[in-house]
Amino acid sequence: MDASSEEKAEFEGEEIEYLSYGGEHHLPLIMSLVDQELSEPYSIFTYRYFVYLWPQLSFLAFHKGKCVGTVVCKMGEHRNTFRGYIAMLVVIKPYRGRGIATELVTRSIRMMMESGCEEVTLEAEVTNKGALALYGRLGFIRAKRLFHYYLNGVDAFRLKLLFPRQELHFSGPMMTNTDASHEHTDLDNT
């Protein structure tokens, strides 16, 4: 993505406010961001599924009262491991390349870690260099390649982050993994 051709917002890092999902009033903000920036159409029930069951894992980024980014996640048991899953990550174009996405994801991962997850996973298009770089910096490896995962024929990587092993305190809800498809916006390198 060529930053110089886009209208970039002017702001200092400290001006960005990060909030944990706080309730119904946040839902339309998240929905409009994701609908606007990603091409996958989701029903309102998909959003509710994530934010109702795992409100502590979704975060929003605000600049001067305007919502500029969001991350939506879930966690649950999958084949005997307690695993977090990053479903959606969006930052609007003028605010990209400034570490907002990294901060959003970091907060979510930290919460997953504290909740007893052993690993975190997501899928990303093999062509999404920005996302791959972002997650690579956070310690994700490319665990698998999924052939023609997306219907436009693009392959995906399954990215996985393994936390250092520690005594597990499993207290989270028991949910099966839906492997809901999702996307990430094409993010610039920070």
Binding site: P41, Y42, S43, I44, F45, T46, R48, Y49, Y52, L53, T106, I109, M113, V126, G136, R137, L138, G139, I141, R142, A143, K144, R145, L146, F147, H148, Y149, L151, N152, G153, D155, F157, K160, L161, L162, F163, P164, M175, T178, A180
Partner: protein, 735 residues
Amino acid sequence: MADKAVSEEASMDGQAPKPTSIPVTDNTVWADASPLLDAACIGLRYGELIHGDNFNLFAAMSALEIMDPKMDSGIVCRYYSIDEAIENGAAPVPISLDSTIDVQCTIDIMDHLLACEAAWHKGHSLAQTVFSCIYLLRLDRTASHALLHSYGRVIRATCKAVLSVVSDARTHEEEDLFTMTYGLPLNGDGDEKCLSMLNAVEETISRQLRACKATSSKRRVSEDLEPLQYNPNLEEGFCKALLCRLRFRKHFFHVLTCMKRPQGRGLELARKHIASCISELEFILKSAEFLQSCSGESCEDDIDDKTTASGREPIGFDASLNSRLSAPTPPRAIKILSWKKAVEYFVKLLHDLDVICSYSLDPHLENLLRFVVQFQKSQPDLVARSHLQLLLVQDGKLYGRDPIFAVITKAAALPEATKNHDIQKNESILQLGQCYYILQLVMNLLKILCTNAAWQRRKLGKILQDWRVIYLQLELALRNEFGEVSSSSNDENICMKIFQHILIWVEEQTYWIACRFLMLGFELELYSASEYCMVYWYSYAVLIKLAEKTHLKMAVSYDTAKRKGKKKRDSPKDLVRESRIPPAVLFLQCYICLAEGLTMMLAALRNEFMILQSPSPFNTEQEKFVQHFELLQRACIPDHASYLSFKESTTHARFSTLVMYNYFKDAQRIAKEVKSSFSNDPDRLAELRKLEQVAEHNSVALNLICRLGALDPSLKVSFEFSHHPFFATAVVRRS
């Protein structure tokens, strides 16, 4: 809609759908539910959900399929059924009363169908591609139009043939769209005779071509033949355009039929048809100029994106029609390949099939494995790979011909004489279960090697465990049966030898699989640069074991041959041969040197210049190591390849020592030495040349970094796969 009790499942025999209704019985009655539904709509606000014991958020989310017209009433279609489309003139028969236009449009339909077929092969569903053709959905309607009808039949029969090959081969979730045929009219009565119908049409057009040529040269024509269409200036061009298209279909169908014959009996004939297909495709490409010139439309810039040679939109296609009929049709729009790209696809497919047909059906497993790996380098698509898979494993035999157990004994380098007699006598030793299991493992491995690289790698990782288990079982059985016995009766000795051979072969094969697993990771771009060091280190550890087992197998085989009395005396030549390292092992040693060299160079770069590190806030290098090699570690391949040993091996890597003990120079030397042994093997010679290049460039880079690295901070080192897909080349640049 309650009174429109017409079944959506339109009948497939071409008749108008009959109205159906469920009759009222003693216990049932029809009740109008509309008021109830209306009340529910008013009662629920946007985004609200009825929450029940068996209907939670997960269920709601999963049940809704956006943009599927069966579920999403907001999706508007142009036509809601095939009949509606036909009634509105979407697929007229004939296409036009003007015969010239009719022919033009028919050719457009043929071209678009080719583009659809290619899109299907590339991974989309039949419903949205080939069967977006309304004429195909109701083929009986075209009975009066010989050209369209015969062409449609061949397409249908071809799709069915290709489908059966891919269905029989091992496919999986990522390629499952290909085999979905729910609700599609694939089975046509009399489709076996489609070729004779096509031949008849071809014959007619050939005569029409001869007639128009004769007329143009002013010679008398005795035949009372109607021309193809009424513009005499265009007759020749149209005839030729049609003939190459018909002939391509004919030969392609023959290719599929020939390749289906068991034990590869039809491969030679298939090659002839492949050659004809390719030449007809060339004629098809050439016809584009003529077709564009008489299309009467202005030459557009994006002619290359069009799905027909003429550049016109074809008549009679609607991909949305099937979304209401077929089960899981992805509701998204897909892009049909351009006509040019479709032709390119078929050319590639035919070349890939030709490689398969030219294969010598080598009974030696290691040669077969090399062939399959080489074949996969050209990235063949699903249809080609499925054909290879079906050729290799038929009826539980290799090529439908060689019993797998015979293949294994040959691979295990058991001397010729040992095999039949001794094995049959001693079959009871290799417990029937283990025997069967090994056969399954080999057949499974061959099938896996024919699948796409991404899926292949995942499967190879999983089967490592199976191969390890069988090895341990065999080893246990060997010890239980023979203990530490050195030599007893001749019979027992032979049993032990068989066991030994197979044991070594199983281990060798296991390490081969591990190697392929690691190498595919590079092809699939699974490793980031900061992980190359550990990957090369692990590869080095696996390669060492592979070379060891390969060498052992050859040594044991030689030994066995000696003991069987083949060698009466150790002649000087024999002694020399025994001490010389076999070329296959030297080849592996070249790999080993390169892997070690790269490991150490990457480690030194990290140790001395702090580059290619990737510190993360959430985990360490150890977690990455554990994840990348989890499947190998679980199968203990190899033993003692832990993160700790990786760190120990690489912590002290320094450029000053590397330059003195230059692994790359060793690799160069070995590559040169072993070339002569492979003078008849062009693939291996090409590989050796690549290895030499890698070695040379890395050696130069090593020296450069050693001399200048510490002094010049502007030097940047990156690793690129410019000479070899697995072994990277260090590139040193000034930033």
